[in-house]
């Protein structure tokens, strides 16, 4: 086999939040798809069929073991991506550069330093596996990347990526259809006729947006959210399965279930007990109750029957 790709998910948790007061988690979707998923698509777009994702929290020896196994099985080159950024690298160009290089390892840099992306020859993996993974000064070729890159280490950088995508400053295109200029709405989303959207904005699959809601300032609503009557979202991202109560003004924030991180004031709050936010449980396949809000809010998601109505 020509090439395998090993993706090491940053943050030590593929699903939950990182430790600390920030809510940031690598699994957060960016307009319908997580950065991890986007990396996997980029790799698959290169024709790489062998792709493995490992948790960064696991022992480094495990990923070294994976690379050695691949090398022994005949994989000629291994693309190692330690996920800490979103970078629009032309992986085909990286491979061509690597072929022309003098070393068995090519590492990718931008102006701020290494991006955690390396391309390794089979021989270099088999010769000295521990050094391959841990030795930063191993002789290697340097691939300087000058395109769009953003290091994802916080909720602030997550919002920057969302805004860049909505404003066309990077190659990310929201999922769903472009309902009007720079407004993307998934066909399965339901919007009341009296919803105001100031472009650009994004409303993901299964989202329900009630009357009087205003969406502005590059705000995004990810899948299966519900935004209740009259609430305004301003420079805000609502993460999947989140309910937002009526009449709120949510500004410069990221909301994930009952938790809200306000970027302007650098503070994270849990507002579930206050009844202002709630986590919407995913529909059960056995027909069980589709909605289980942690706060006392009675809004059955199963009532959603409209589809992609243009506000």
């Amino acid at each position: 086999m020509e090439m395998g790709a090993l993706v090491v998910a940053a943050g030590g948790d593929l699903n939950g939040a990182s430790p600390g007061s920030s809510l940031w988690a690598p699994a957060w979707p960016v307009l319908g798809q997580s950065v991890l998923e986007r990396w996997i698509r980029m790799v698959q777009g290169l024709g790489v069929g062998l792709v493995s994702v490992v948790d960064r929290a696991e022992q480094p020896s495990k990923r070294i073991h994976t690379m050695v196994e691949w090398a022994r099985e005949g994989v000629e080159r291994i693309l190692l991506i330690v996920l800490g950024s979103y970078a629009e690298i032309d992986l085909g160009d990286l491979v061509r550069f690597h072929y022309q290089g003098q070393h068995g390892v090519t590492r990718v840099f931008d102006q701020e330093g290494p991006l955690g992306i390396s391309l390794l020859d089979r021989d270099s993996v088999l010769v000295d596996t521990e050094r391959v993974a841990s030795e930063p000064y191993r002789p290697s070729s340097r691939y300087d990347f000058l395109g769009y890159v953003i290091r994802l280490s916080s909720t602030v950088s997550y919002r920057r990526l969302v805004e860049d995508a909505l404003q066309g400053r990077c190659a990310i295109r929201p999922s769903g259809i472009q309902a009007r200029e720079n407004v993307w709405i998934d066909p399965s989303a339901w919007l009341d006729a009296h919803v105001k959207i100031e472009a650009p904005g994004y409303i993901g699959p299964g989202a329900k947006v009630r009357a009087g809601v205003t969406i502005r300032g590059c705000s995004s609503i990810e899948r299966d959210c519900e935004i209740d009557l009259g609430t305004t979202l301003d420079h805000t991202s609502i993460l999947p399965n989140t309910y937002v109560a009526p009449g709120l003004y949510v500004r410069e924030s990221v909301v994930d279930g009952t938790r809200l991180e306000n970027l302007a004031r650098s503070v994270a709050l849990d507002l579930g007990a206050a009844g202002l936010l709630a986590r919407i449980s995913k529909p059960q396949p056995n027909g069980a109750k589709p909605l289980n809000l942690s706060a006392a809010v009675d809004l059955p998601l199963s009532d959603v029957d409209g589809h992609g109505e243009d506000p």
Partner: protein, 111 residues
């Protein structure tokens, strides 16, 4: 009747309905006997305001406005500032860092 009187108050306990009734009665008496009263609520001892307290503040705004007065809050934590903005209470409250600035009515608003 006193001209532009100022009162500095703390919010009562959330779960004490008797204290809340007494508090509102006191506020009402104060604003009804004043012209353009200024009510200042010192929130510096509250780590994070709750919706019930915000409702109480809004009732105070209602009473104060009937006498052409105003309600100020001071010493709000970042968490409280977020909640006041989120619930849009900040649009009818004057927010100052300190009681002194609120009493002077200086324009250096925190939010």
């Amino acid at each position: 009747m006193t001209a532009s009187p100022v009162a500095v108050k703390h919010l009562p306990e959330v779960n004490d309905s008797a204290a809340q009734r007494s508090f509102l009665r006191e506020i009402k008496e104060f604003v009804e006997g004043s012209r353009q009263p200024r009510l200042i609520f010192d929130l510096s001892s509250i780590p994070q305001i709750n919706p019930e307290s915000i409702d109480l503040l809004l009732e105070c705004v209602d009473h104060a406005e009937r006498s052409d007065g105003e309600v100020c809050v001071t010493g709000a934590s970042r968490e409280t500032e977020v909640l006041l903005e989120l619930t849009q209470a900040s649009s009818v409250l004057n927010i100052f860092p300190t009681v002194l600035e609120a009493a002077n009515g200086s324009p250096s608003q925190a939010a």
